[in-house]
Point group: C2
Chain length 342, copies 2
């Protein structure tokens, strides 16, 4: 029972018609080409019967479209990104697109290579949470007419569609929440980063504090895959700032590392230190005490991203549609880690 791979020619021969006709029928040009209904049905039936599937490689080579979307995230094992990947994937498959993904590690060199690879593969569209340093490469994609949607952060000097959350307002509100509850020495643990989302978060933090005439306490940690590394940086920071009464963590994994650090120091939340995390996580609901968190609307982010991309993919390439820049609001889930006890 050797299932020989059938080609469109095999089908044509078996049915004693030309490959062209088969191709037309299979691609829905039957009506337009006025092919006999009877023939159309016969072909469709036969194709179904023998289980013929067109070779998409050949089709892609011919049409120049691969029906593939390239997805590049910072780290697929980060629940924020894997959550988004999940939604994007689902939506893409529904629309006949496959996803090829990769993690960038925030490394511009790696990311450039990946863009190159994806391009060789002729992916039809790109979804990227990009590190700083790949602006040129992305501009080249755009110049080549390839649809690119950025998310999570934008890039200076890159004009394309983008989906973000309102980072600035998010941390601004979070800090004000802390101030309302009576906290005065509020720290920020963030990344050494020129990435737009981190800058926005830093900015919101600064604005809120300066409005109230409070002092800033910021530590910027280098991006690292190693959790222990992050924990150590945070430990050092917390030990050098004994008077802190609250701290905002700029990402979900910084918050996780931070909680571990706080635990090691034997500090009590929120009595010794109040905590807010950027990004929600199951952990923050179930840890003790539960952790107040800024929640990003993952489903909507993914949805906006894929909707914009699909629209570009399906639009007439001659008709330029303006770039969309979507900024979504976050929400804050107030839990026990910011509950003023005094």
């Amino acid at each position: 029972m050797k299932k020989k791979k059938l080609s469109i020619n095999d089908i044509a021969k078996s049915l004693d018609i030309s490959a062209t006709t088969v191709s037309f029928i299979l691609n829905g040009h039957a009506v337009e080409k006025r092919i006999r209904k009877e023939l159309v049905e016969r072909v469709l039936k036969y194709v179904e019967e023998v289980g013929y599937k067109p070779n998409s490689l050949a089709r892609s080579l011919r049409t120049g479209k691969s029906n593939t979307i390239g997805l590049m995230v910072e780290d697929i094992s980060n629940p924020y990104f894997s959550g988004i990947a999940r939604f994007i994937e689902e939506n893409a498959y529904k629309n006949g697109y496959k996803i090829i993904y990769s993690s960038t590690d925030n490394d511009p060199e790696k990311t450039k290579d990946l863009i190159q690879m994806f391009r060789e593969r002729h992916v039809d569209g790109y979804i990227i949470s990009a590190p700083v340093g790949v602006e040129e490469d992305i501009n080249e994609l755009i110049a080549a007419g390839l649809p690119v949607v950025l998310f999570d952060r934008v890039l200076q000097g890159v004009e394309t569609d983008a989906v973000e959350v309102d980072n600035n307002a998010s941390t601004y509100n979070a800090i004000n929440h802390l101030i309302d509850r009576g906290y005065k020495n509020i720290g920020l643990v963030t990344l050494i980063s020129v990435q737009s989302q981190m800058l926005g978060r830093l900015q919101g933090y600064k604005s809120a504090l300066s409005e109230q005439g409070l002092k800033e306490h910021v530590v910027e940690i280098p991006f690292s895959k190693d959790q222990e590394n992050n924990i150590n940086h945070i430990l050092t920071f917390l030990e050098s700032k004994k008077d802190l009464d609250a701290v905002l963590f700029g990402t979900n994994y910084l918050a996780i590392s931070g909680l571990k650090a706080i635990k090691r120091l034997g500090l009590t939340i929120p009595d010794d230190l109040a905590v807010i995390a950027f990004d929600n996580h199951d952990l923050f609901e179930l840890s003790f005490p539960s952790i107040t968190a800024i929640t990003q609307p993952i489903a909507e982010i993914a949805n906006e991203v894929i909707t914009i991309l699909l629209k570009k993919l399906n639009s007439d390439p001659l008709v330029t549609i303006g770039n969309q820049s979507v900024v979504l609001p976050t929400s804050m889930i107030i839990r026990d880690s910011t509950k003023k006890i005094k």
Copy 2:
């Protein structure tokens, strides 16, 4: 500065040689074909200069290899799977393979479609955590000579490479740990499932209990993406079994749902109920109390999977190499949720 896409013919023409020669040089057949060193260098230099990249679609069409691996997991947003995806991806890219992935939702129909899609795309190898019901489809892949590596679970009647953990021994040990600590009414929250890994976990649970003459308390929950759904099932179970003093959760997300359910019921861990989770999670370290967890060696699982697959991919297709079945041990991290207080 319109960067026209260069083809091998453009290169050949510019250099006034044939495409054949360029192809040979680019594919490392220069020596074997005894092409002049001087020419080789000139071609390489020019190619580098103009940034020519072969069209991999065309190459794939011709060679029948796509340098792509299809990865199918239950749910990419589950940290177990996204963690594995991360390692696999990294290793694959290093070896010149790209990953195209999809989540199966444990749905055999969806999975069949995906296998079909991946096959149309001519992926070179498959990595699958498969739901029951796709045995035939996978056997077809194998019959067609396509390398398949299963992981997390195996499939009845499918003979191929597989990487698992020792599920049976893992839960057996976990239950014995509970028994040692004096727990007697030990429940198991698992999935309604005929999947091998869940059966193994159930089996280990049963063996341990029966050895000690203890009674089983099992609830089997239908697979669902909706956490609230899981929580409700667990709530019902816990309320109907007031005499339970310990519970083992069969997966990480069941444990998370379970912890939420326990919290809602106002039960104290471990005084009212001891808890063990299958699969580790940051949460289990940081929740209060911390949760004892069976830890799967994610890096090793991913590593075995990709190593086996690459070996098959690189081996002479004529030389059949026997299937490898790797069973890795888990470890148990004992935390406070199983700390006998009495």
